[in-house]
Symmetry: C2
Subunit: 249 residues, 2 copies
């Protein structure tokens, strides 16, 4: 029996979450090294040249980029299928994952979550409340209007649960950490979908770790996760000092 897969990257990241949900749904055991990417050392840079999380390390490969990792997991562990079988639906699912990973990331992570969490807690810089207000007034509604037209009123985006639902729901978790909830009166279909996806065991089992970490100072993350019984690797790539890399911040 091979060692469990190692995932490097914090539970707070939507990209890490996507991969952990995939692993859980596919029944693949893993251990996590829950570093904040800004606190990765030079060995982390060597594993992840763009200093992105998650990194997956298993007996075959070291991989970065959550989309690449999910495609790999789907091919190595085909059951249950998390990409639609139909070619057109599969393309749609991949597009919605891309939409989440780029546009929703830009708005929910780099404008909202960055302003209310990363800037104060990683860099000790103040939140720019004007950026937050403008994002909530303009960009967020644009995203939700788009999704509301894409999502069916029942079931999942492409019929069965797929990468599309998982990716969208991952980003709405981070929007939630930044204090945002979907207005179910204005966007009822999207609100219901996200609530449905969050009810899946693979999401529910991660939520306590996430909810706790967002209220915990970064230097205490490991200690808190240890007490909670998270499946941790040894601390391998972390440093106490954040640094800016090539990542977008």
């Amino acid at each position: 029996m091979a060692d469990p897969i190692r995932i490097i990257g914090t539970y707070i990241s939507p990209y890490v979450r996507k991969v952990l949900v995939f692993l859980s749904l596919k029944g693949v055991p893993y251990q996590i090294d829950p570093i904040i990417p800004f606190m990765g050392d030079d060995r982390f840079s060597a594993l992840s040249p763009l200093r992105r999380i998650p990194v997956l390390v298993d007996d075959w490969v070291t991989l970065t980029d959550s989309s690449v990792i999910c495609e790999y997991l789907e091919e190595r562990y085909p059951q249950p299928a998390l990409y639609p079988r139909d070619i057109v639906q599969r393309a749609r699912a991949r597009w919605l994952e891309e939409f989440a990973d780029t546009r929703m990331a830009e708005v929910f992570i780099w404008r909202l979550f960055n302003q209310v969490a990363i800037k104060p807690f990683v860099w000790g810089e103040p939140t720019d409340t004007e950026v937050v207000a403008a994002t909530l007034a303009h960009d967020v509604p644009q995203i939700l209007d788009y999704l509301e037209a894409q999502v069916p009123p029942t079931g999942f985006v492409c019929g069965e649960l797929s990468i599309a639902d998982i990716a969208l729901a991952c980003f709405f978790r981070n929007a939630g950490f930044a204090g945002f909830t979907i207005d179910a009166a204005r966007w009822p279909i999207t609100a219901a979908l996200v609530a449905r996806v969050w009810q899946i065991a693979a999401f529910r089992e991660l939520a306590p770790f996430e909810d706790r970490l967002v209220r915990t100072p970064i230097p205490r993350h490991r200690e808190v996760l240890t007490v909670m019984g998270a499946p941790l690797t040894p601390d391998t790539y972390g440093t106490p000092t954040p640094r800016r890399g090539v990542m977008q911040v």
Copy 2:
């Protein structure tokens, strides 16, 4: 027989180029609506919510994002295979495509090509020569050092020609439009790979259109392509006035 596939987006874009090379290698006929994305109208926004090019329109689907389109083309037209068959190599190929589409895009398109071509010719703004100098001094060598360690001395990145080689070579074309050539003394393996990929007929047949368009004022692109015999659609989504969208500029 269905109508030819329509591709919306200019020959100058590395993302459009990737898809056109795919179509050519797979022997799938297409027509192109060669708009600059900043000059797409509201119907273009409806097709491409992030105002990205290329958009593919065929008898089954309307799709955006070049990576999603290439996966779709691979599944619909499996021969010749342009993703490696081996799971690990396929993951590597997808990662290098992602590296090209994000990091190389950031450096070669949004810092170099944007400064020397898009800013002056689309927006009438001056080139920031300090940005160009810093990019050439720091970011470009970092990319080339990384690639030099990934690329084998002969053949293609993952053995047979794949999406990885095509994606990398597409971005080096735009670097070339911005005046950059790879120093073959410093990065001989990457320089040789790119030269090898550019020699493929699917790249060579596009080069005259690209070389001509980068020297042609935008309002005359269609006229020039018509004279050259490019496989054009009617002008469907273009406007004479550029506008900034949600795209990164």
